[in-house]
Amino acid sequence: MSAESARAPRRLPRLVVGGRDLTVEAGFTLLIVAFVAVAATTSDSFLTPVNLTSLLKQMVTVGLLSLGMLVVILTGGIDLSVGSIVAFAGIVTAGLAADLPIPVAMAVGVASGIAFGLVNGTLVARFALAPFVVTLASLTTIRGLAFVYSEVPIAPADPAFLDLGTAMVGPVPLITVIMLAVFAVGGVFLTRTPAGRSIVAIGGNAETVRLAGINVRRHVVAAYTISGACAGLAGVILASRVGIAQPSVGVAFELDAIAACVIGGASLSGGRGSVRATLGGVAVLVLINNLLNLYGVQSFWQQVLKGLIIIAVILVQRVNRSRG
């Protein structure tokens, strides 16, 4: 970040519509359109219903995690524990599904995410601990708890457990609809509610916000709780989609979520980030994976290329952003 501020500003045209600066969003739209155009013309399999449906599904987990992560990142924090929460929520849901009605079991799964988020947030806000270490520690602890709950994967016998993950709303998977709804709510929350604006402002300058009489701690706790809730929901959805919950799932999920936010222009020092652009970041990440697979790039080279493409994408995005 440091070096960013050290650059002289560039002067490039910006896209401003109705007083809103949409340059970054427009850049994303272009980028994604370009991706899709290339994919559609070079691969027969890309524009098939099967592939499009699976793309929509693949966005769900990383999408939900990214939205929660964005809220935390906006406060200037970070939540590394989301992958472990995915595992815990999933395994608990699958475990309880044997004894409880499935919706109740799922609610408990999401609630466990909320509880972990609350703990993370409290440690960060009330005890003023560094978010990176707090959530790194809870990453470890929650992963351990998932294994303590069940060392082995759990596959609920009731086929209704799969419903959430397989249902369709017209041509769109239900879970994708859920994710988009969460993004819509998240967008309204961050741009149109006092709490959401406060969270953004806290990341910009917490002291100014505190002096404006806003309870900084409570908002920070709320941010981590939202992230925990999103991770819990992602865990429940993932377990339902796969039909089996593993305590080992979700390792390094947090990195993809953070990457989606940053590709979407969020600043890790807080105060800057957009819900729409984050969704764009999620789409870009999922598209990269999809394309590498469609082209049949061999696995290790996939990793090599994935890294290089991400760099290329953020280079393109930076040009957009620096038109400031």
């Binding site: 002067r11 309204v188 604006r197 406060s198 402002a201 100014t208 505190r210 404006a212 009489g213 038109r323």
Partner: protein, 489 residues
């Protein structure tokens, strides 16, 4: 052959031109005063000549040679040193390090800290700021002290051109005298000094020529002997200002806030005063006398240890109708990355929302009205990030944020710092109007003239204690200054 000459400098940001062909020239030993309203383009011009910003077009010469400083480093090599308007020390590092960054004395390739501290101390003494401990962390110094370190930093090696952007805004008393003495010394040694300030008497006293900027152009170049404050203000504002300070108010109403025995060891002790409806109370003191801490404490932003009259939290203070305009707008007044609109409505988000949602329409209306009322420039600034505003306009945004809360007790800590004369007059008029509407105002200021002129009553602090209370109408600058130095008036 002049020491420095700029010709036809243009500068645009995001396609908007803010400098429209500015020229500037000065010889060795000159002190060029640069004055102009907020947003006139003074800081931008200065950043260009010190290599911090590239010009869009134009040319620059030094001692007859065409130069083109593309980075601060280039400018340093040319002998141009600059003290910027916004404080920019590295708070984590010591004063020594901040001073010598990039020029440490070395022994065997390693930094010789003993020599470095000695050199820093020697430098501070030489420029008249010997009271500063070079081993202190810069972030722990008061704003005024930090400003002094900034000035010292520019003098680490003898410059050919020294640029000072509002160096005096946070200085008072002896510190100010030290700065003036320093500038005179530099002049005698043939340094060209460019001095940007809103404090016109200073400019008139120091400058050998005065450049008046307005809306990105130089509209006049004057000689101090041939002009006066009124003329300058008239040129800057584009109109005559009838009267700087409003008439005093009388018939003060009930006590709206009472402080009694308030103490925080190491900062201030046994403070007692009352703020009454319709009255403006001034609070004067020298750097570090504890005024800012006192105000923060009353507002609940910092805890008190003993005594009455301090809120427990800012939220409680605001609920009780109190507002605090802090002295450091960048660090405690604004969320610089957010829009002007967001910044102004920060205090009213929660109170004006409709259901769970913000009342965006009302927010837009309120903000537009404030931009208009306080004449914030540029007029279409509401969706701009606050960081893109000039310093004075940023200050107005902070003020607007609190006015939108309709406070009853207004604490203003250096509210006119960096604000141009016309706007100051505007602020005085507004504060006066607010007082007449029944507000109680505490005006903390390091500007002696202002603290007497704009108030009804002046409290003077010295080393954390109130050493005197004077009626503004019956007192003079000498008396206030004496009390602030711990001498009986």
């Amino acid at each position: 052959m002049s020491r420095l000459e700029l010709r036809d400098v243009h500068k645009e940001f995001s396609g908007v031109e803010v400098l429209h062909g500015v020229g500037l020239r000065g010889d060795a030993g000159d002190v060029i005063g640069v004055v102009g309203a907020n947003g006139a383009g003074k800081s931008t011009l200065i950043k260009i000549l010190s290599g911090a910003l590239p010009m869009s077009s134009g040319a620059m010469w030094m001692d007859g040679e065409r130069v083109d400083p593309r980075s601060p480093h280039d400018a340093h090599d040319l002998g141009i040193r600059t003290v910027y308007q916004e404080l920019s020390l590295v708070p984590e590092l010591s004063v020594t390090e901040n001073l010598l960054l990039g020029a440490f004395p070395r022994r065997l390739g390693l930094i010789d800290w003993k020599a470095a501290d000695a050199r820093a101390r020697e430098l501070l003494v030489r420029v008249g700021f010997g009271a500063i401990d070079p081993r202190e962390r810069a972030g722990r110094l008061s704003v005024a002290r930090q400003q002094m370190v900034e000035i010292a930093k520019a003098l680490i090696s003898e410059p050919r051109v020294l640029v000072l952007d509002e160096p005096s805004a946070v200085l008072a008393g002896a510190d100010l005298e030290a700065l003036f003495a320093l500038i005179r010394q530099l002049r005698e040694r043939g340094v060209l000094v460019i001095y940007v300030s809103h404090r016109l008497p200073e400019v008139l006293q120091l400058a050998t020529s005065i450049v008046v900027m307005k809306d990105g152009r130089v509209i006049e170049t004057l000689t101090p002997g041939d002009t006066g404050e009124d003329e300058l203000i008239g040129l800057m504002a584009g109109r005559r200002l009838e009267q700087i300070y409003p008439a005093r108010r009388d018939g003060h109403g009930q006590v709206l806030h009472r402080v009694d025995g308030l103490t925080r060891p190491g900062e201030f002790a046994d403070i007692g005063f009352e703020l009454r409806a319709g009255e403006i109370t001034g609070l004067f003191g020298l750097v570090g006398s504890g005024r800012s801490e006192l105000a923060r404490c009353v507002f609940g932003a910092a805890p008190a240890v003993a005594g009455k009259g301090a809120h427990r939290s800012p939220a409680e203070a605001i609920e009780a109708g109190m507002a605090l305009v802090t002295e450091d707008r960048a660090r405690t007044g604004l969320v610089l990355g957010m829009t002007v609109r967001d910044n102004m409505s920060l205090t009213t988000w929660h109170s004006t929302s409709r259901g769970p949602l913000l009342d965006v329409a009302r927010q837009r209306r309120d903000v537009a009205a404030m931009v208009d009322r306080l004449q914030i420039r540029p007029a279409g600034c509401a969706p701009m990030p606050a960081v893109h505003l000039s310093g004075g306009n940023q200050q107005k945004v902070v003020l607007a944020k609190w006015l939108l809360r309709d406070p009853r007790v207004l604490l203003l800590d250096e509210p006119t710092r960096g604000v141009d004369m016309a706007t100051r007059v505007e602020i005085y008029r507004m504060v006066d109007e607010l007082a007449r509407q029944g507000l109680a105002v505490l005006l903390i200021s390091s500007d002696l003239t202002e603290v007497i002129g704009a108030t009804d009553r002046v409290l003077v602090m010295h080393q954390g204690r109130i050493t005197g209370e004077l009626r503004s109408a019956d007192t003079g600058e000498d008396e206030v200054l004496a009390l602030s130095m711990g001498r009986p008036a």
